[in-house]
């Protein structure tokens, strides 16, 4: 088999933090090459280098044997390397056909030949057996269909190497299976696929070869057939025992947070769970499978289509941000820049926002605000170069700490933490874990939505596994091994 | 504290040997105003007077600012072609307080005690002359008359009232809409007029620019029978009268207003004998017969 694209000794670091170290990575023609690793292992960084979005600090990208120093996304695409990002890049207002042929609509006598465009798009879709009407408006498609259209588009543009970065992260089981089928067909048609996923069983089912990254290093590259789930998990997580679970001597108290038959469209079907005081409950599931709805529903951003939320025995009005806050429920988003922080305002003021939203004071007392913020900052270890810079000037980890400090640095009844260590380095991660422990110690009921198995093992007292919007398992963490938990999480999607 | 107004008329005569500086605050950018400015400039040059000019672009607040700026420049007098003929109270008060004489052009009625002087257009007479012309033209047959006005205001009302009062018993005003001094708007209004009142025989348009717009509308509708009477005396207007496109117009030209304004301001400042404080612009009813005798509109 010929090598289509190759990374030779590629390194990349961001502001001193090394994301990739001397990576060698090759993709053969027609193979499905899976890339796995824990969060922050460097997968996305690697494929960004492949697709020209990032320039490596050292090493070389070889496409069909030729080296490319200055690869840009456009150039990579022209050379047949394209990427389907985790966030969709369709033009939402345009039809499927047009999105498929963006920038290269067929023309006859200068005019767009719509009949041919639709025929071409339909043919390209049909060739991949993707059943999406070409006249449908892209923005109105479901997430699975959007993914399929995007994959089909990249194939149709002549993609010989297709990078799929977590294509099934936000899809349910059936939709994921459609994507798997597509991937198999593509590879049998001779297209090379780089497949990133946290669903290890789907990786094992799909991949011809698997490369495992850990902390920016390539740990192993092996044929899919030579690896099993346990071996893969071990390769990913390594021998580290840094995330030792501290000895727990707290006992769960009264029930504080009750979620009763909460439903939201097709994504969440009658989810029921309770969290008691002094307890950390992790909701675990394939990424994007139901638990991503929790934030919108619990915070009051969106109204559920059914079910109730109760805090300390009292109903919380549905779809009302103020009611959720007043009930002592704090929801910390996993998307800090979209829903958590105001990037243009300073750190100290961001820290004061929730207090202001709750107390509704007339005046802002800057002196007190800065004093209180300074305490919070030191408690949460927010490090800045300037005195009080805008949040947008902070590193990701520091932004995350600001986010947590903003929401949790006052006694709360219950909280939802969505990916609380998103984009955070190891030291900060440990700090944040201690903070969450502290919350539970104080009596807060903590609901944790995290895709990071290590983190769940480290923090949770109880694990609730959700699949297709329903609870399929509810177990105490005590006695669960890491590998067992990984298997539990990633094990069901292909069945 | 508000200081009391001192009227400029109490000031002493200016030394005839002194080179005068006059500020001119113009109110709009349409043809009348441009010609007014040109003729004032020419007359000022020949009278050895410095003329400073500012443009208010139909904004009363800007007009006041312009007067302020003129006062700051310590001009000997300010001539104002106002944006809104009857809305210069603030400006007059300011000039009075600063002791700068203020002189108005093209106004209808003024409080003489607070100004140096004025050149007034006898809009009543314009309306009356045109009304009488139509009354005579209709004779004993009845006729529908339409008015396409500029913008409502005291002056327009005076002109319109005089026009209507002198139409005689057979002519009747059936349509009266303003076109805000815009030629294009006048064209639209004229088109609508034809739709609403196809039998209209006479149209009084408040100025010639708008009248030309109305004329274009009538022409394109093939209506050469409608008689247009208007006000102005511009070259295009006189030409239209000569061609029979306008039945009549009244010539009261910005050229004479401008020249009179400079002459009278200088005369009043130097307290020359025989200069009238409030002078009336000479006007002339122009029809095809006397079109060649009409005075030039512009320089």
């Amino acid at each position: 088999m010929d090598v289509r694209i190759e990374l030779a000794g590629v390194s990349k670091s961001f502001g001193g933090a090394v994301a990739l170290r001397e990576i060698d990575f090759a993709v053969n023609g027609g193979e499905v090459h899976a890339l796995v690793g824990m969060n922050g292992a460097g997968k996305s960084t690697l494929v960004k280098i492949l697709s020209g979005a990032l320039v490596p600090d050292a090493g070389e990208v070889l496409i069909d044997g030729a080296g490319h120093g200055a690869l840009t996304p456009r150039r990579a695409r022209a050379l047949g390397v394209s990427i389907v990002h985790q966030h969709r890049t369709l033009v939402p207002q345009l039809t499927v056909a047009e999105n498929m042929l963006l920038g290269r609509l067929p023309r006859r006598a200068g005019a767009v030949d719509w009949r041919r465009a639709h025929a071409e798009a339909a043919r390209a879709l049909a060739a991949l057996d993707v059943r999406v009407p070409t006249r449908a408006v892209a923005g109105e498609l479901g997430p699975a269909q959007q993914t399929l259209v995007e994959i089909a588009r990249e194939v149709a543009t002549g993609g010989k190497v297709l990078v799929l970065d977590e294509p099934t992260a936000s899809l349910g089981g059936a939709d994921a299976a459609t994507v798997h089928d597509l991937v198999r067909r593509l590879s049998s048609a001779g297209i090379s696929i780089v497949y990133i996923s946290h669903h290890l069983d789907e990786v094992l089912g799909l991949a011809d070869r698997i490369t495992v990254l850990r902390d920016g290093r390539r740990i192993v590259t092996a044929a899919g057939a030579d690896l099993d789930l346990a071996g893969l998990v071990r390769a990913m997580t390594g021998e580290r025992i840094s995330h030792q679970r501290p000895r727990r001597d707290r006992a769960a108290g009264e029930t504080v947070l009750e979620i009763d038959a909460l439903a939201s469209g097709a994504r969440l079907a009658e989810l029921t769970l309770t969290v008691r005081a002094h307890e950390v409950v992790a909701v675990l599931g394939p990424a994007g499978d139901g638990q991503s709805e929790l934030f919108d529903l619990l915070s009051g951003r969106r109204r559920p289509s059914g079910g109730r939320i109760r805090v300390a025995g009292a109903d919380v009005a549905a779809g009302d941000v103020g009611a959720a806050l007043a009930a002592g429920l704090r929801c910390v988003t996993g998307d800090r820049l979209a829903h958590g922080l105001v990037p243009g305002l300073t750190v100290d003021e961001n820290l004061d926002l929730t207090r202001r939203g709750l107390r509704r004071p007339w005046l802002v007392r800057w002196g007190r605000l800065h004093r209180q913020a300074a305490e919070r900052r030191s408690r949460y270890g927010v490090a800045t170069i300037q005195a009080d810079p805008p949040v947008s000037a902070l590193s990701g980890g520091n932004q995350q700490k600001v986010l947590l400090a903003k929401w949790l640095d006052a006694p709360v009844q219950a909280c939802l933490l969505e990916e609380p260590t998103n984009g955070v380095d190891v030291a900060a991660k440990a700090d944040i874990h201690q903070l969450v422990d502290g919350l539970a110690d104080q009596g807060t009921a903590v609901l944790l939505a995290s895709a990071d198995v290590e983190e769940v093992l480290r923090l949770a007292d109880r694990v609730v596994v959700v699949r297709a919007g329903r609870v399929v398992a509810d177990l105490p963490v005590e006695g669960l091994s890491r590998d067992a938990l990984v298997s539990l999480t990633v094990g069901g999607t292909a069945s | 504290s508000v200081s009391t107004s001192t009227t400029s008329t109490e000031a002493t005569a200016v030394d005839p040997g002194k080179r005068l500086t006059i500020g001119f605050v113009n109110g709009n950018t349409i043809e009348f105003h441009t010609c007014l400015q040109k003729s004032m400039q020419a007359r000022a040059d020949s009278a050895n007077v410095d003329l400073l000019v500012a443009q208010s672009a139909m904004d009363p607040a800007k007009e006041l600012s312009n007067i302020d700026d003129m006062i700051a420049k310590k001009v000997d007098a300010v001539v104002v072609q106002t944006v809104n003929i009857d809305a210069l109270e603030g400006g007059v008060a300011r000039a009075n307080r600063a002791g700068v004489p203020i002189f108005l052009t093209s106004v209808a009625a003024v409080d003489q005690s607070k100004i140096l002087g004025a050149v007034v257009t006898d809009v009543k007479k314009v309306g009356q002359e045109l009304g009488e012309w139509i009354a005579e033209d209709t004779g004993d047959t009845s006729a529908d008359v339409a008015v396409i006005g500029g913008a409502p205001g005291a002056a327009a009302d005076l002109m319109n009232d005089a026009f209507k009062a002198n139409l005689g018993s057979h002519a009747k005003v059936v349509f009266d809409q303003p076109a805000l001094w815009q030629r294009a708007k006048a064209q639209d209004v004229a088109e609508n007029l034809l739709q609403a009142h196809p039998k209209v025989k006479y149209v009084f348009v408040h100025n010639e620019d708008m009248a030309l717009g109305a004329l274009a509308a009538f022409k394109s509708a093939g209506r050469t029978d409608i008689k247009i009477v208007t006000n102005g005396g511009s070259d295009a207007g006189l030409q239209a009268v000569r061609n029979g496109e306008f039945a009549a117009t009244v010539s009261n030209t910005p050229r004479s207003v401008g020249e009179m304004a400079i002459d009278n301001v200088v005369g009043l400042l130097q307290k020359k004998e025989g200069v009238t404080k409030v002078a009336t612009v000479p006007d002339m009813l122009v029809t095809r017969d006397n079109a060649d005798e009409a005075p030039p509109y512009c320089l």
């Binding site: 022209a78 345009l94 767009v112 339909a122 009407p133 | 043809e31 030309l212």
Partner: protein, 324 residues
Amino acid sequence: MTAISTPQRRAGLVVPPWFLRHAGVLAVLLLIGVFTATSSDVFLTGANLLNVSQQIAVVAVLAAGLTLLMTAGGIDFSLGAIAAVAHGVAAQLIVAGVPDGPAVLVTLALGAAIGLVNGVMVTWFKVTPFVATLATSTALGGAALLIIGGQSVSIGDHLMMIGFGEVLGVIPVSVVIAAAVCVAAALVMRWTAFGRNAFAIGGNESAARLSGIPVVRTKLLLYTLGGLLAALGGVMLVARLGAASPGAGGLHLELTVVAAVVIGGTALHGGSGTMVGTVLGVLLLGVVANSLNLLQINPYYQDVALGAVLAVAAIANHLRGRRT
């Protein structure tokens, strides 16, 4: 290709999609039309309807350019001022003895050049479109007066063909031009790669760039085209008036154009827009003005009514948007 049944088909009724999309504006238009027709028997005469179409021809030409531009996420606040400059330049060229044809061509080229300047400010210097074109609009407003020296400049019998000519003995040439421009714009938006690229840029600029769409070039062309059409509007203006005159075009025209396009459902943030909508918007404004005139309503009420119609149409657009 499976499951390609549109909701309309399912309902057993074939309604063209543009009809549904513009139902709000159409309803308002119909309402006003019916009301005026019952109150004034002139309204529905052929002559009056021709008048209306003639009165809105210039607005339609400018609106066509703006629709394209706004579809791509841009805006041009200087179109009215460009029209004012163009109508002055055309008149002065004709007065200077340049034959009609070349005079018109030079004017159109000038308009395009001004549009290009807007485009350069927006693409190269990255000034917000609103701010950039507000600046040029101000400057051009002064330039328009300078060009005609603040006086009416009569063009005599020139450009009669555009101003008063008729096709087939009834349809005014200006209406034909406006219709041609609108149809052409609709075709460009639907059938050319350039037009489709505008949609892609307005909908998702970074996706468009990654797909190899020449974003900067397309934007420059759009602003240039906007300027060109505004200049064409200016030529039509001077032809209709028989003279260039201070106050023609400018801000008032600009706002009418923006209002028409927005009422027609083109989004301010780009990515969607139709010429059908824009034409309906232009028609609505024209019909409202005409009917208020025919009904002899005090012109001051006309602005009040226009504002109310704008507000109602905007809210109707929103309500329709929420239902889907």
